[in-house]
Amino acid sequence: MDAPVLAVRDLSKRYGRQQALAGVELEVAAGQLVGLLGPNGAGKSTLTKIACGLVRPSGGGVEVLGQPAGSPRARAALGYLAELFRFPGWCTAEELLRLHQRLAGSGGGETERRELLELVDLGAAAGKRVEAMSKGMQQRLGVAQALVGSPRLLLLDEPTSALDPVGRRIVRELLEELRRRGVSVLLNSHLLSEVELVCDHVAIIAAGRLVKAGTPAELAGPGAVEVETGSGVRTFEGATREEAPRIVADLVAAGESVYRVEVRHSSLEDVYLEAVGGQTG
């Protein structure tokens, strides 16, 4: 098996008396899209910042492609979009990407800049100054900026928080495209539906600890089969879709009249709420 693109080992971070992260373990494989969920203040942004070298861990460590997080080689391999970011207002979209190309040592030139702007639907805004852009446009420009230099790992902290539904769809399609290209993505988001739609793997953090991890299907787990019979609605908790015909057959054999059958899945939202225990930041 290939070495993970991002490996988080027993990571802890303390800000004064506040324990932001405690013993977190997480891996992102090549081409994998991992969603990081958790309430405000759970430690998601801290984890992302440690991965890109903005914050120093108190214990444990993070490696990017086998290099310690924060080292020049690790930073050269990643792209990052912070939750709170600002670009110089006087820069045009094109100038900003050119600046980041120079900083990232990218030789992509104008072709890369044009392709990235097209990718986030800002092809027509190449000459527009950042200060004249809406928050949503700036956020999409931020995603394009993070992709400068074709990073192997993309760390996105709430990349769709300021986007309207169309903007979200653009980013979602972009993430799917990145997965096709083999780019690994760690996506911090509050939007469970979005994570459920695009992510291969989900990790839930609460109070600095990893409380649940797995594929969306694994996390969602078996739900229930609900059957409306002549004597009322009967729910078979834990039953799967495959068991539904047998349940119906048993009921009919027992003399019940069956009017409706519904297979229910526990949603990621149910799993999330159960995992974080109703915590909110």
């Binding site: 890109c52 903005l54 930073r75 970011f85 600002r86 006087w90 600046l99």
Partner: protein, 289 residues
């Protein structure tokens, strides 16, 4: 050119571009134009009036040298002040302020490295401030020459002294930006600037009153904040070749430096500059963003 140097050059360019596009830069340019216009006018009348006033007394006091050195000393003070304002504003919020607004993170995560980034920001701000100071200094000199035909005893040394002084102010401001919020940084650096100038005046007064204690206090403070020592030495260099009563009166005046720079001060100023930038880089490297 290595990748690191290329990135550093990019950040230097970014700092200069950012500085030029800041409104404060435009304000400084307008103020400078106003100052130079007033200075030219003032120099013209000062030379004309003092020449008439001092007729017959030129044997003991050279009116042209006295007027030229005094008003050019005033111009140097204004140049240092405006240069300091520019240096502080160009480095305002460079670390903590930009980190809080989210401007810093997209750049810091690039492979450039924090130390290179900080040094590049310093180079950008210091070179712009120093260039500004040199331009204003030589413009004031040209006006003094044109209106009164007076030239300082040394022309280039004082210019370089002022340029180094504003570079030190830029370094101190950068250091403050690693620890303080934008407002606190501005207040602290201007207070330090004021304290340095006050220390210089103390040394000057101590010398005039022949008070060794006052002179020593002023000198120690000047070395602790060497931009003041450089400024005083630059003033001294203007008139270092002026002898007789004119030289004595000028040295004791508010714009007459009594201390020569010497190799010690220059070496100390460079070491101080490097030390301050290194300390800023060390604090920045350990700071969570």
């Amino acid at each position: 050119m290595s990748a690191s140097l290329r990135s550093a050059a990019t950040v230097v360019g970014l700092s200069i571009q950012e500085g030029i596009r800041k409104r404060v830069f435009l304000a400084v340019l307008v103020l400078t134009a106003g100052f130079l216009a007033l200075y030219g006018l003032g120099a013209h009348f000062a030379f004309r009036d003092v020449e008439g006033f001092a007729a017959g007394e030129t044997e003991i006091l050279d009116p042209r040298a006295f007027t030229g050195a005094t008003i050019f000393g005033l111009a140097m003070f204004a140049t240092l002040f405006l240069g300091a304002v520019l240096a502080v504003f160009l480095t305002l919020g460079v670390v903590r302020g930009d980190a809080e607004s989210g401007l810093l993170q997209p750049i810091v995560v690039r492979p450039i490295g924090r130390t290179t980034m900080l040094v590049a920001r310093f180079v950008g701000a210091a070179s712009l401030s120093a260039a500004y100071v040199l331009i204003v200094y030589f413009a004031a000199y040209a006006l003094t020459q044109a209106t009164g035909g007076w030239s300082p005893d040394h022309l280039f040394g004082p210019a370089l002294g002022l340029a180094l002084a504003v570079a030190i102010i830029a370094a101190l401001s950068l250091l403050a930006s690693t620890m303080l919020s934008v407002t606190a940084q501005g207040i602290v650096v201007f207070m330090v600037f004021g304290a340095g100038l006050t220390a210089g005046l103390l040394a000057q007064i101590g010398r005039a009153l022949n008070s060794d204690s006052l002179h020593s206090i002023g000198r120690v403070a000047s070395w602790a904040l060497p931009f003041e020592g450089l400024y005083a030495a630059s003033l001294h260099a203007l008139i270092s070749g002026t002898s007789g009563l004119t030289g004595v009166v000028l040295q004791l005046g508010p714009f007459g430096g009594s201390e020569a720079a010497g190799a010690g001060l220059i070496a100390w100023a460079f070491a101080y500059l490097v030390g301050v930038v290194a300390l800023a880089a060390f604090i920045f490297s350990r700071r969570d963003l």
